[in-house]
Each structure stands twice: as C-alpha cells, then as structure tokens.
Symmetry: none
Subunit: 203 residues, 4 copies
DNA sequence: AAGTAACCGAGACGGTACGTCCGGTCTTTGG
DNA sequence: CCAAAGACCGGACGTACCGTCTCGGTTACTT
C-alpha cells in the first residue's frame, strides 16, 4: 500500500470560505446569547445557514470550533504595548487580562473550554499551544526586561511567577468568585514583584 | 364543621436515607468509571436502584449532586496536620492539594464543577461556601502561624498569597497542563514565601 | 388507651362517606373538564383532597371509579315513562338515549369505558351487569307491550331488535361519526318496527 | 451573484421505506403480543430498530400509527366475493366481519381506536374515511343487488340497514359482551332482511 | 466539453439522555 | 384501623441533540 491519497493537485470543490466565516460568526453570536453549554452544533448550523456535515467536516468537536471562534476575536490576542517600568507593565498586562475575561465571550467561554480540555487530548494540545503561550508571552517578556534593568533578581523563576500571577487571576475568576478589580491587580503585582525584587521592600 | 388546613408539621413518608446514600455512592463510582461529562442522571438512578424522580426531588442539578458526592469523600476535606516550620507546612499543604487533585475523583471533577458554576448561581454559592474555604483555611492558618513566629512580614497580604499559591496549582492543572510535581511545589512555596519573608534573601 | 364504643365486629375507623363523595364528585368534574384519557388518579386525589391510597383502597381501577361516577348521575339511569303506542315509546326511549350520550359526561366516557372493558374482566362484568341491562330493560318492556297489543309479531326476537336499535345508535356515536338526530331516530324506529310488525307496511 | 432561495422541491434525505415497514410490522406484532393499551412508542421503536423521533416525525399519535398498522393487514380490508342470494351475501359479509374482529389484531384494537377517536379529530377523520366505508361498502352493494332483483323494497333505507346490521355486531362486541356466533348472525340477517323484504313473512 | 471528485444545504436516520408525569406501593403522623 | 400526606421505584412520555447517512445540486480540476 503506497501513500498518495491525492492524485496530483486539488480535485473537487474547494472549502467555502463564506460558510467558514458564517460558522465562526454564528458560534460567536451564540456564545454571547446563550452561553457555552447551550451552544449546540445544530443551533450553529441553523444560524449559519449551513449543513451540520459541513461543521463536522472541518472541526473535530464543538470545543475545537468554540476555541477557534474565541481566538478569532482580535482583542483577545493583542496585548497592550510595553510601557515604562516593570511594575507598570505587569499591572497593565493584568488589567488587559481581566478586561478580556470580563467580556461576554470571556470568562465563561474559558471555563467551558477548560472543562472540555480535561477530556479531549487534541483540544488540550491546541489550547496549550495557542491560548496559554499567547497570554504568558508578553508577561514573561516584561519580567525579562525587568531582569535586564536589574529590577528583578537574576535567579528569579519567571515562569513560576507567571504561574502565580495568572493563576491568581484565574483562581478568582473560576474557583473563588472573588472580584477581579484594579485593587486586586495592584496588590497582586506589588506583592509578587516584591518577592522577585533585588532590594528588600523599604518599610 | 371547621377546616384545619395547616401543614401540621411533618406529614407523609420521610426521605429515605438509604436511597440518599445509594445515590451518592453511585455518583462517586460513576465519576471514577466514566468521568464527569459521561455521568448521567439516568445512569446514577439505575446504579443506585432509584427512580429518577427521587434524584430530581432532592438535587436541583446534576452538578449539585456531583458536588455533594465529591465533598462526601473524607480525604478530600481533611488537610494534613500542622508540621514544624512555615516552609514545611506550606509545602505539605500543597502536596496534599495536588494529591487530592490527582485522585480519580479529583481534578477532572473539579474542572467539570468549575465549568458549571459559571452558569449556575446556586451551585456557585455552594462551591464558594463549601469547597473553596475548606482548601484555603489550613493554608491561611499556616501562614498566620508564620506571621506569629516572625517568619512572615506582619503587613503581608495572606489571602492574596493563598490566591497565588492555589492559583498557580489550579492554573497548571486546568489551563496550562504543566506537571504538578514536588519540584514545582518546592519552587512555588520557596519563591512565594521569599516574597513574604521579613528579611530579604541574601544574594 | 383503652377500647370502648366499638361493639366487636367493627375494628378501626369506618370508611369516610365524606371522602367517598368527594372522590366521586372530583371524578365527575374532571371527566367534564379534561375528558376520560386525561383523568388521572393523581388529579382526582388532589381535587378531592384525598390520599391516593384511599382511592386504591376502595376501587380496583380508574375505570371502576369512572364507572361508578358515571352511574351516579341520576339522569343517566332514569328512562322516560311509558307513553302510548309502541312507536312512540321506542322513539322516546331512543331520544332519551341520545340525549344522555350527548351530555358532557356522556358518549366520550362510554367510549373510554368501552375500551377498558376489553382488557379488564372485572370491569366488564360490572358494565354488563349495571350499565347494559339498565339501557335495554325499558326498550324490551316497550316492545313486549307492543307484542301484548298485537302490534309486534309473537315470534319476533326482541333482544335482537334491541341489539339492532341500540347498536345502530352506538355505531354512529362511536364508529361512524354520523349524526345522532331525531330524523335518524325516526327512520331507525320506523324501519326496525316495520320488520317486526304483524301486518305488512301499507304501500 | 444572485440568490436562488426557493425550497427547490425535494432536498435532504428521503424517508426510509425500510424503517416505515419495520415500524408497521413491529406495531402489528406488539398489538398481538401485548394488546392495544400496552403498546408503547418506546417498545415499537425498540422492536423496529428505529429511533423514537422517526416515529414522531411521521405519525401524529400512537393511535394514528396503530390505525395504519391495522389497515395494512390485507385480510382486514378485503371482503368476501359476492355469492348468490341477498340472504347468503349478507350472512357471508357478517361472518367475515366477526371473523376479522375475532382475530388477534381485531376487536381489541378497534375498541382502542374507537376510544381514541373520541378525543382526536384528525384520527377520527382517518377512521371515518378509511375504516368505516371499507366495512360498509360491500354490505350496501349486496343490499342494492337485492333491491335490483326485487327482493328488497325500493324505498328501503339501506344505509340505515347497515347501521343496524353492523351496529348490532359492534354493540355485542364492545358493549354487551354477548357472543358473536353464527347463530346470532343468522337471526340478525334474517330479522333485518325480513323488515326490508318486498313481501311480508307469511304467518 | 465531458467526466469526476469533493464540496454544499437540507434533512432523515439510529441513538441517548433529558426532565416530567403518572402508576401503584410504602411509610409516616394523626384522628 | 382509616385517612391525608407525600416519598418511593419504575416506566413511558415527547423533546433535544448527537454524529452519521443520503439526497439533489454546485464548483472546479482533469481528461
């Protein structure tokens, strides 16, 4: 048995970009209107004016589709530009994070995806590859700049620091229900950066 | 002839404790065997030898039942006894936490509940009241003992520290998929406590 | 607590006539409001302010209760008094029959009972004993008076004639849906009596 | 680019004739095995190897399905061929009728349908259109042949005669419980035809 | 230009579970 | 011992979606 599976070029009709976009748009709308658990493939197909088969042809699961729809929001992906001090950068990045999570397609969608990740290895792979690093990257960069400037100790474990910073935010969002406000962010960045600083806190 | 139409206290058959226990046990077994998303009310009723109505009579949702079943495991609730130093206590508590989450009825169940509490206010209330404080309490106590001994600064925000400690654990469990091992715990407790310590790390 | 005031033969509380009447009344009301197939034991118990057990204690089936409720309507049982000629008597009896069947608790209830009779031997026995003869009796008597007067042939099979007369009425009511009006009754009694008459119809 | 948004006639998968037949067959089998009141949609679906939705998609009610299943028996629909005399024809047709009603899918099914048509206008329409005329047609034809031969009076109301003949049969079947045997049929056809005859019975 | 392959919307299909209703039974308290 | 209340097990209801499987019909490349 030899592997070819494509005679030469691309036979047959191409994927309809129109349908693709309609499906993504319908998914996003339904996420806002009904929330993750009530977004069904059937509803998406109906809203998008598309056959169910077309969805199953291109996405392996509802969660994969939701993930793509979620990621297709530009504001979800673009972090704020770097500012001045490490303290300011960290605070700005956390503020951006909670703003994104407070949107209609924010925290609840993440919660649903988080649950599905636990049972869907392929989805988890996509989430760990596309979502998590996008969130962590800018934060790690900000801390590294702080290290370069000598504000943060050279031997600080920056990845661990991001685990703590982002972890605290998601912990409040998903588990404890405590508020995600600017005061929280201020205290969180202050105390965490204090532990990473080269000089002891004065006073 | 006068009509006495008051409820008159407690009429009718009482709730069957036998059925109650059978339902909880069946739920726990099915959570282990099939995982949260595949545990159905119908399967629980069949396993417990109970009518579905009996389940719907006493629990408002599948999630509420799973929550109760989850909490009925003694080992989930009882944290380890206090040890010697703050460092040892924190590390032991984190070790206990990841051990609980690694159990069959551990992390996946929490992930499912976490997803459901985003859309179910009553369930969220129960989760915030029964699950979250049970996890935080021992950790806060350990940190307070450290404060009493002078190992931790008096002005440290201990609740925030628990947000960071537990947050980092749940972040890895639910979102990033990074391993929850003893090395991680060691570094996490070290770096976090370092930020709370009265004297700065030398060097 | 000592035993008094009970002669010996009758232990325990007596059957509550109050509940009995309430159950019958509730059944009758529900038959009118909802129709036979939607009258449930539960609804009867609730309407009557009675426990379900009390119903099950005194009636073997829903149909038996409906039968008793149906028979408890006085107008169902009392046929019109005998008139003058056989022709008049027969016509009056048929008119009474279709009037009874046109009532709210009339034809539809009979149809439901008729269906249940086919699978419930005890109920069938009660129906054949209490309902059918009550309907046939007056008609047979009228025809016998006609025989006595010489209007009807002595060798006529009167029971068979009642089968045909009542059968035609119930056939229209239950099976064919044709109207049950006075014209029908007139023609039916005319043609049937014509076949039983001593002298041939003139012209 | 123009939009052609008309339904375009016949889109989507066609109805499965295989499933259709399996459902009818399963219904007929279950009617024989369990009787009308114990034939559930769920049992039919399971027996036919079919989803419940497929049944609900094509039949508005259990009774409508039973009606179709009942009518799909060839022997139910086809009356015996015309014989010689009117007397013989009538007797043969009545014999055929009681034979059909004595079958496993006979009288009890009719009783159940009869009960249901009292509350279901659509079903009643089907019953009056498909069942009743199929039964009456041959009988009316036989009587009309008798009229043609001069055995039956020209002014006789033949429809009324069929009401009486069939009515008497169904009355015994459904209401009175009296036997449906050949003696009954003989006397019934004799007395009824006697009333329709052109010459009076002598003696 | 004809043939062929993969796509598309539509929607029926076999299933599974849902949450509700009711049947008939059992277990309380109270008269 | 009966009655009202109401929980119990069981089973069917009719609905909603799942993921799959035809349909007729539409591109678009290959021959």
């Amino acid at each position: 048995m030899h592997e070819s599976s494509r005679p030469s070029g691309e036979r047959g009709r191409r994927r309809s970009e129109r349908s693709h976009q309609a499906i993504i748009a319908a998914t996003r709308e339904l996420l806002v209107e009904r929330g993750y658990p009530d977004v069904t493939i059937e509803a998406i197909a109906a809203r998008a004016g598309v056959g169910k088969q077309t969805i199953y042809r291109w996405w392996p699961s509802r969660a994969a589709l939701v993930l793509e729809a979620y990621l297709s929001s530009a504001d979800v992906v673009t972090p704020p530009a770097a500012g001045g001090t490490t303290r300011e950068d960290v605070r700005a990045l956390l503020a951006w994070l909670i703003a994104v999570l407070a949107e209609p397609t924010g925290g609840h969608v993440v919660a649903g995806l988080v649950a599905d990740i636990q049972h869907d290895a392929d989805l988890a792979e996509g989430f760990h590859r596309d979502v998590v690093p996008a969130r962590r990257g800018a934060m790690v960069a900000a801390l590294e700049r702080g290290q370069g400037r000598g504000e943060i100790r050279a031997d600080a474990d920056l990845e661990l620091a991001v685990d703590a910073l982002h972890g605290a935010v998601f912990y409040r969002l998903l588990l404890s229900g405590e508020p995600l406000d600017t005061d929280f962010i201020a205290r969180l960045s202050e105390q965490t950066l204090g532990g990473l600083a080269t000089s002891p806190p004065t006073g």
